[in-house]
Amino acid sequence: MKLIIAYIQPHKLQDVKKALYKAGVHKMSVTNALGCGEQHGYEESYRGIKFEVNLLKKVRLEIGVNEDFVKKTIDAIIEGAKTGKIGDGKIFVVDLPECIRIRTGDKGNAAIG
């Protein structure tokens, strides 16, 4: 089992969700996040005074999947989130040693699907 964590542009969330549904991935958690990477921030101004916004708004997706879904999920996230410009985001894949469904007590692969 893997845990796929992706940071994407907030306005691409809709497209990513669509691509994931198309790939048969219906489960995800979404949280708001702030972050900075290669993309430089942007300038805002307040009452005439300019300031740099360094931490940009991002959306964090977390999806736990079985091995056979890893590639499909990653491909779908890329399909939905990619614009080709700096700031599209990153995907992290980490090992997931255990997964338990609270309602039934199911463990492992059965619990995740």
Binding site: N32, E44, S45
Partner: protein
């Protein structure tokens, strides 16, 4: 006999002294009445001005957080630009001596700078806030995707030309003009057509030229909800508008007498009925009493009663408001689902469609004979036949053709010159950052739900 003699001998003497006294009293009474009229009309103008705040809150509340600064800026600027455009050009076109189509004098009210009674100044401020009301309706229909620059250009044209020229046809004789619609006895007391439909139909033209917001219609063409981000603000805005309408309608008498109360009653009844019926219809259609529809319903009642507020009975007002409450819900759904025009706040339904209904309702419910208003306009339901209804149809139809037609031309011209629609990226990130470099809710975390 003695009395008659006395009357003959003493009569002229008495008459002379009381005559002078009476005329002095009459003059004082007249001056007092004029001043009461001025005070009332100014108070009403200030109430109508406050409706700008109402519109700003309704539109902000019903749209997304990422566009809040943008819509507030539009509301600020359409009134500010509109005020100056109306002062310099619009007022003269609307109320100057007419050439048959529009007024040609009184620009920047330069003829009355020394006016001792200052009625013209009072009249100007009162008419300015009305023009501002028409202008500010449109921003709601075009919310969330319009280039700010395009909106500034539009603001000049509505208050300088589109609003005042139609206004001169219906209301020109309130000062020096004389319009062809009012000669036909067109009834639009406070502006269901002149103010609200003009704004509503222009909004419709703008929304069509812009196209829907991204994500409003799915691939299957079904409409999706793009939720308003602050219903408390929207509700505050509706209450402010309702409050302001007590200046809009009763103020349009421009006379300080008992008619203020009468018009306030019809206005309030229609608003209340509109809210209740819109709630019921939305409850029946959607299984829950929808707050945003009920709020729109109150406004629908207010818009509808604006034309007939002076000429219908309280019972008539109740019926007019009720029907408006039903119309607005059905119209919002129709425009959204059938026409597929994206009107984020329902401005076209509230102001365009219910303004149309209010204008026509004069032809059905007018009862000036019963009310003893001095006029004689009588609608179909009070035995007046179809003549008033026919005139109302002509007026409302002209209003639609004028505002919608010119709106399409204007927004097409803007599209081809300064550009009408914001870029895709700007729209997705929100116009606040793209257009104004500022967030509405800095320090708050706005959750992305789309």
């Amino acid at each position: 006999m003695g009395l008659i003699v006395l009357a003959f001998t003493a009569g002229p003497v008495f008459a002379e002294s009381t005559g002078a006294e009476t005329s002095a009293i009459e003059a004082a009474k007249e001056e007092l009445q004029i001043n009461i009229n001025v005070v009332w009309t100014c108070v009403a103008a200030f109430l109508v001005f406050f409706m700008q705040a109402g519109f700003a809150m309704v539109e902000t509340g019903f749209t997304q957080a990422k566009n809040a600064v943008n819509i507030l800026m539009k509301n600020l600027m359409d009134f500010s630009i509109g005020t100056i455009a109306f002062f310099l050009i619009g007022f003269g076109l609307m109320f100057g001596v007419t050439n048959g189509l529009f007024g040609t004098t009184d620009f920047a009210i330069r003829n009355v700078l020394g006016d001792g009674e200052h009625w013209n100044y009072t009249f100007l401020i009162f008419q300015t806030v009305f023009a501002g009301t028409a202008a500010t309706i449109v921003s709601g229909a075009m919310a969330g995707r319009t280039k700010f620059r395009a909106y500034l250009v539009y603001s000049v044209f509505i208050c300088a030309f589109i609003y005042p020229i139609f206004g001169s046809w219906a209301w020109g004789s309130l000062l020096n003009g004389n319009g062809w619609l009012e000669k036909l006895n067109f009834c639009d007391f406070a502006g269901s057509s002149v103010v609200h439909s003009i704004g509503g139909w222009l909004g419709l033209a703008g929304a069509i030229m812009l196209g829907p917001r991204l994500g409003k219609y799915g691939p299957d063409k079904k409409p999706k909800a793009i939720l308003g981000h602050n219903i408390p603000l929207a509700a505050l805005g509706v209450f402010i508008l309702w409050f302001g309408w007590f200046g809009f309608n009763p103020g349009s008498t421009t006379v300080g007498n008992g008619e203020i109360g009468r018009v306030a009653v019809t206005t309030n009844l229609a608003a209340a009925a509109g809210a209740i019926i819109a709630m019921i219809v939305s409850w029946l259609k959607g299984k829950k009493p929808d707050a945003s529809m009920s709020l729109n319903g109150a406004l629908a009642g207010l818009v509808a009663i604006t034309a007939p507020c002076y000429t219908v009975t309280p019972m008539g007002a109740l019926v007019i408001g009720s029907i408006a409450g039903a119309i607005v819900v059905l119209s919002v759904l129709f425009i959204d689902e059938v026409l597929k025009v994206d009107d984020p706040v329902g401005a076209v339904s509230v102001h365009g469609v219910c303004g149309l209904w209010g204008t026509l309702s004069c032809g059905l419910f007018n009862a000036e004979g019963v009310l003893v208003t001095g006029g004689s306009s009588t609608g179909l339901f009070y035995g007046g036949g179809f003549s008033q209804l026919g005139v109302q149809l002509v007026g409302a139809g002209t209003c639609f053709a004028w505002a919608f037609g010119l709106g399409l031309v204007l927004f097409y011209a803007i599209k081809k010159t300064v550009g009408l629609r914001a870029t895709v990226e700007e729209e997705l990130k929100g116009l606040d950052i793209g257009e104004h470099g500022m967030e509405a809710y800095s320090g708050f975390q706005i959750f992305t739900t789309t």
